[in-house]
Amino acid sequence: MTQRIASYPGTALSEEDIERGRVLSIHDRLRADYAWDAGLAIGRYLDGLKAGQILGVRCERCDRTVVPPRAFCEQCFAPMDAFVPLAGVGTVNTFSLCYVTWDVKRIAEPLIPSVIDLDGTSPPAGIMHLLGGVATDRVRIGMRVRAVWKPARAREGAITDIRYFKPLRRG
């Protein structure tokens, strides 16, 4: 039918149409505050971070260790409560050099988000975090990295207690 329709509905507006008041629109801001419970497994994970340790969790039945921890194994549906301390060292699975913020503002120095496969887990079982202490042209997939922690007194039980991951070797 597309070839039989001469003109399609849908009227394109420009920013100028709005700014100049050529068309009317209502602007409002929604306030949405939440307090999320960390839950059983992530609660332990956050306790671990506060203590300067990354905790994984093991499913004996599936013979796998994963991070972030979870209360149940999504594959066999058994409880998963054997927590395993991980060394905080891993391998860059992938990374990006990101020049825009979450709300699309341009930044000059890129953030380097990465998926990091942590030693002691059963691949693929990485976590997302940032890389730091490395020049942008030196970042590589396969690079070995370790967690850089905030000082103990500044830690609060959050993923940001790890400031970033940096190369094991000077690059």
Binding site: T2, E15, S96, C98, P110, S114, V115, I159
Partner: protein, 392 residues
């Protein structure tokens, strides 16, 4: 399966634009009305209504399905909204199919609408809530991250270059130049234009990405016995499939979308397709980013792993190629009002299989096509297979 056979009998769509003057409800009405008119039906003929729309956060309207219902022709009728993120538009294939195949309704109106422009200043910020609030959101992630991370892993795993991937953006934006509803059709765009565009989150650059868009698409589905009375050229639903992987997205192989393969196998089994590369004549895989078209062709088993770029380079996936991919122009060219973009792919198959796609028509009288979409936290695969042959 003791289900009734179901066909698509009509389709309609609005233009895809960066910001539409029309409200979501008005867009939905335009597309739904056009779909009904295209097959000579009225609301009285419609038994049930299926709506697809993405997160309520874009519109800032809670219960968007209910809000959209009257614009979708659902006044006083049974209506059901489905939502599986970006996968929703093609999920409407199985959703609408079920409604008619089950015997509950003879004629079903299926409507997908998205208005992303309402979110200020940019819809991207609405996506931050897809990330885990405790383990990821404090890092201030941006939607581009997951695509950039996946694209880089895909490139590294198979030794694929940015230039290989940019070919997809060029093909789709050129195809879209022939689509009357397209937002970013560019007949003369080149690979250099893509490679020289602004770097957003390397390896993702501006022209690797589909735009924020507003728009609506609707189709009419009818059960066997009714479909043939509505039109002498019904396009049959031959197979549907869907699958979700874990939301622990960092615990997955980012180079290969296994959930797309599982959805595809479900649909191929239902359609009796044994050799997809020979039996699928047109493909409309989800292409919100150029590498995703390649990634998805591999997940759909239409290309070997890591080899989809070669098909593109050889022209196999061109509109005149042996297996046209995104002849519509896809999300990269037509635009990406999320669920509407997915259903646009199903509508494109309908038009192509009826030989009604005008300047976009693929040659050779195709008999079967596949639409696929993907979404949520990179975990959803949805597939709809349409064909000119009534299923056995």
């Amino acid at each position: 399966m003791s289900m009734r056979r179901v066909a698509v009998v009509g389709a309609g769509m609005t233009r895809f634009v960066r910001r539409a003057m029309e409200t979501p409800k008005e867009l939905a009405w335009h597309a739904a009305r056009m779909a009904l008119d295209s097959c000579g039906l009225t609301l009285k003929d419609v038994g049930g209504v299926c709506i697809g729309s993405a997160p309520d956060a874009f519109d800032g309207v809670h219960m968007k399905g209910e809000y959209l219902s009257d614009g979708s022709g659902a006044w006083g009728k049974p209506v059901m909204r489905s939502f599986v993120g970006g996968g929703t538009g093609v999920f409407l294939g199985p959703h609408g199919w079920y409604h008619a195949a089950s015997g509950l309704f003879d004629v079903v109106l299926v409507v997908a609408e998205e208005k992303m422009s309402s979110f200020y200043p940019h819809a991207q910020a609405a996506f931050v809530t897809i990330f885990d609030h405790t383990t990821e959101r404090p890092l201030k992630p941006n939607l581009l991250w997951i695509f950039a991370l996946e694209m880089n892993r895909y490139m590294q795993t198979y030794g694929i270059s940015k230039r290989d991937i940019a070919q997809v953006a060029v093909k789709n934006k050129r195809n879209a130049a022939d689509h009357p509803c397209a937002m970013l059709g560019e007949a003369n765009i080149t690979i250099e234009d893509v490679l020289n565009s602004e770097v957003l989150a390397w390896p993702v650059q501006r022209l690797d990405v589909s735009p924020v868009s507003d728009g609506a698409v609707a189709i009419v589905m009818a059960a066997e016995g009714v479909a043939e009375r509505i039109t002498d050229r019904p396009v049959w639903v031959q197979g549907v499939g869907w699958n979700l992987d874990t939301a622990y997205w960092t615990n997955r192989d980012l180079a290969y979308p296994a959930y797309v393969e599982r959805a595809a196998r479900m649909a191929y089994d239902m359609a009796g397709v044994r050799e997809p590369r020979k039996e699928i004549h047109i493909v409309e895989p989800y292409d919100p980013f150029d590498y995703k078209e390649l990634h998805h062709l591999e997940g759909l088993l239409l290309a070997d792993r890591g080899k989809a770029p070669e098909l593109t380079a050889q022209g196999v996936t061109a509109r005149e190629g042996a297996m046209p991919v995104c002849p519509s122009g896809g999300l990269l060219g037509v635009g990406n009002p999320i669920t509407a973009a997915g259903l646009m792919k199903v509508a494109e198959l309908f038009w192509q299989l009826r030989g009604e796609a005008g300047a976009r028509q693929v040659p050779g009288k195709p008999e079967r096509g596949l639409a696929q979409a993907w979404g949520d936290l990179m975990q959803v695969g949805t597939v709809t297979i349409l064909g000119t042959q009534r299923p056995a």
